[in-house]
Symmetry: none
Subunit: 199 residues, 4 copies
DNA sequence: CCGTAAACGAGACGGTACGTCCTGTCTTCTA
DNA sequence: TAGAAGACAGGACGTACCGTCTCGTTTACGG
C-alpha cells in the first residue's frame, strides 16, 4: 500500500551538505561579518554548489535567519516562564549579553537587520520568527506578574516591552555603549524600580 | 585677522551640482527606498557624473548621512532645551513621529542603519553625527529636570535614554508596531509616570 | 580507452552566445573601427553580459585575435604550398589585397597592432598566432624554390620575407599608398626580378 | 606701419613649462611605454596643469609627434643626400638601429602608430610629418643613383621604398626579429645586390 | 608705469569604459 | 531527483582618463 503519494522521490537531500553550509556561513559571519558574507562565498567555503544553497533557502536573509534559529537554545528561553518574574527578566538579559560576546551573534543579528531594511519580505519573516515570539514571551511574563500582584497593573505593557527590548537592540545596532553585565543589571534594576509593586 | 588656510584653488565646486545630487538622492530614496538606491542611479537621475558624487562623498553611507543632516531642522531641536521638561519630551517625540510619516525619513534612516551594519567607519560617523548628539541633548534635559527637582534623582540617565530612544528606534527598524501620535503619547505618559517626582 | 582528463563539468558554454559576440564584434569593428570598439559595446550589441565575454577572452586583444582567426580561410593558404612559386606568391598577395578591401579586415588588423603596441602579452600572442605562421609558410615556399633551382640560393631568406611582408604591413598600417591589385602585381614583379634565376 | 596685428599680447608662453612637459613625457614614455602614458600623468610629473598641455597640443598624438620631432636630428639625415648612395643607405639604417636601442624611441614610435590606428587625423599628421618626408628623401636618393648610373633604372622606386622602410617598420612594430647592426648590414647587402648595377 | 590679455596651477565637470563582484536562474553531467 | 560545476543576464561597484570648463593668480607687453 503506497502511503503518501507525494512521498520522497529521487535522491534525498544530503544532511552533510546542509550542515557544511551552516558551518561555512557561521564561520564567514564570525570572521568577516555582513560585509564579507555572500552566497557565493559560503558555497565556495562549504565546498557546495550555489544550487544547493538556493534549493534550501530562497534568499540570503532566509539563510541568516536559519543560522540564527539553529544557534538559539529554545529550551533556555522556555524555562524563563517558570521563574519568578525578576529572575526571569534578569536571566534573559544575562543570556543575551553572554551570547552577544560572541561576534557570530552580533554579526548575524546585525546582518539580519541590515537585510530586513532592504527586503520587506525578509522583514516580515524576521518579525514573525524573532521579534514577535520574544515579545509574546515578555508579554506573558509581565501579565503573570500583574496577575500575581507583583507588577503595577497600570503599566502599558507594549511600551514596557518596547523600552526594554528597545534598549537592548538600540545598543546592539548603534553601538554607542557596550552591552555587558553591568548594562544587564542596570537595566533590570531601573525597570523593576519602575514596575514592581512595593510589598 | 584669520587668513583662510589652504585657500580656494582651482574651479570651485558647483553648488547646483551639489544640490541636484541631494535632490535626486532624496527622490530615489523616497520612491524606491534603500533597495533602489545606488550611486549610479543617483548620478543618472541628477544628470551628474559619478565622479562628482565620489568627489564629495566617499561612500553611499556618507551621502545618506548628509542627506539626513540636510533635512534635519536643528532649530526645532534647539528650542526643546528651553521648554518645560515634559513638554520638551512630548515635542521631541511628536516631531519624530511627524517626520517619520514621510517615507523619505524612514527610508533614509533605515538605509543609514543598514549601511552602518556593513561598514564600521560609517557606523562611527553615524554615531558621532546622529546618535551621540541626540543623546547629549536628552542628557542635558534630564539633568536639568533633576536639578530643578522635577525628575527623580535616582534614575540611571543612560538607561532612561536607552529606553526612550531605544523604543523609538526599535519600532522604526523592526516595524512590529506603528509609530504614531498614540505611540508618542503613550511613551511620554509611561516614562513620566516613572521618572517624574510627585509634587 | 583514453578517458577525457578534466572532463566537461558544469553547464557548457553556449555556442550561440559565442557566435553572437563574434558577430557583434565583427559588425562594430566594420562600422566604427578600433575607435568605437569596446567590450561594453560588444556586450550590449550582442545582448550578452560582459562576464560572458571576459569568461572567454581575457582582453580586448584576445577577442580581436579570435575574430581575425575565425575569419581567415586556412585552406586557401594551405593550397599555396602546392602552386609554382611565382603563382603562390602572386596568389597570396592577391588574396591579401582582396581581403583588405573589406573594412572589417583593415580595422581588425589595425586594432590588433594598436593593441599589441600597448600590451606585451598581446604582442606575443599576435606574433605566435599570426606573424610567425605566415613567415614560416613563406620560408618553406622560398626554400622549395631554391631547392628546385628556381630561386637564387644566395638570398637572405629572412630579409626577403621582411621586405615582402614588410611592404604589405607598411602600407596597411601607415596608409601612405593604396593596397590594390596594381600594388600586388608590382610587388610580385619586382621581387621576382630580384630573386628568380634566369633559365 | 603697424606690422603684425595679431602680435603677441598678454603673458607669453613659458618655455620652461614647455620643456618640462616634453621632459616628463619623455621619461614616462621611456619608463612605462604607451601603456603608462596619459596626459594626466604627464601633467602631474611635469608639475604642470593639464590646461598647459592642451594649450600646446590638441591631442595625445600631437604631443607624441612633437616629442618625436624634437628628438630627431634633422641635420644627420640631411647629410645623407651628399653621400654616395650605398653609404647613405647604410648610414640611414645604422642611425635608425642605434636610435632604436633607446627604449624611448621604440616606445614613442609604437605609441605614434597605435595612436594613428585609432585617430585618422593623427594618421594624416603622422604620414605628413614622418612617413612622407622620409620616403621623399629616399626617392631623391634613389633617383640620383639612377641618374648617375649606379642603380638599375628598371626598378619600381615606390616598391623599393616600401620594401626597405617596410622591413624596418615591420620588425619595429611586430617585433618578430631584432633590429640590430646585423639586420642593417644584411638589409643593405641584399637590397644593393638587387638594385646596384654591375660596373 | 599701469592696465590688460593671455598663461598658468588647480581642480571641477560630464562622459566613457574599464575589470570585478555578486545575485538569482539556468543547464549539463554524475551519482 | 540531488548535487557539483559553472554558464548566463544583469546591475552596481569604484577607478582611470578624456577633453572642457572655471576659478584665482601671475606676468610681460603696449599704450
Amino acid at each position: 500500500m503506497p502511503s503518501s503519494t507525494s512521498a520522497k522521490r529521487g535522491r534525498p537531500r544530503d544532511a552533510a551538505t546542509h550542515q557544511s553550509i551552516l558551518d561555512a556561513a557561521n564561520q564567514i559571519l564570525s570572521d568577516a561579518g555582513y560585509r564579507g558574507f555572500s552566497i557565493e562565498g559560503v558555497a565556495a567555503k562549504a565546498g557546495v554548489s550555489k544550487t544547493s544553497i538556493y534549493r534550501r533557502w530562497p534568499s540570503k536573509g532566509a539563510l541568516l535567519l536559519d543560522l540564527y534559529m539553529a544557534g538559539m537554545d529554545g529550551a533556555a528561553l522556555a524555562d524563563l516562564q517558570h521563574l519568578p518574574i525578576r529572575d526571569a527578566f534578569q536571566r534573559y538579559l544575562s543570556l543575551s549579553v553572554k551570547r552577544l560576546e560572541n561576534p557570530f551573534w552580533t554579526n548575524t543579528i546585525q546582518s539580519l537587520v541590515a537585510e530586513a531594511q532592504a527586503d520587506p519580505e525578509m522583514a516580515d519573516l524576521f518579525r514573525a520568527k524573532v521579534i514577535v515570539p520574544r515579545r509574546e514571551s515578555g508579554r506573558i511574563l509581565l501579565q503573570r506578574g500583574i496577575d500575581e500582584g507583583q507588577i503595577d497593573s497600570s503599566i502599558d505593557i507594549d511600551i514596557v516591552l518596547d523600552a526594554v527590548f528597545g534598549a537592548l537592540w538600540y545598543r546592539l545596532l548603534l553601538g554607542h555603549m557596550p552591552i555587558d553585565q553591568r548594562f544587564a543589571n542596570a537595566l533590570t534594576d531601573q525597570v523593576f524600580a519602575w514596575i514592581e509593586l512595593e510589598q
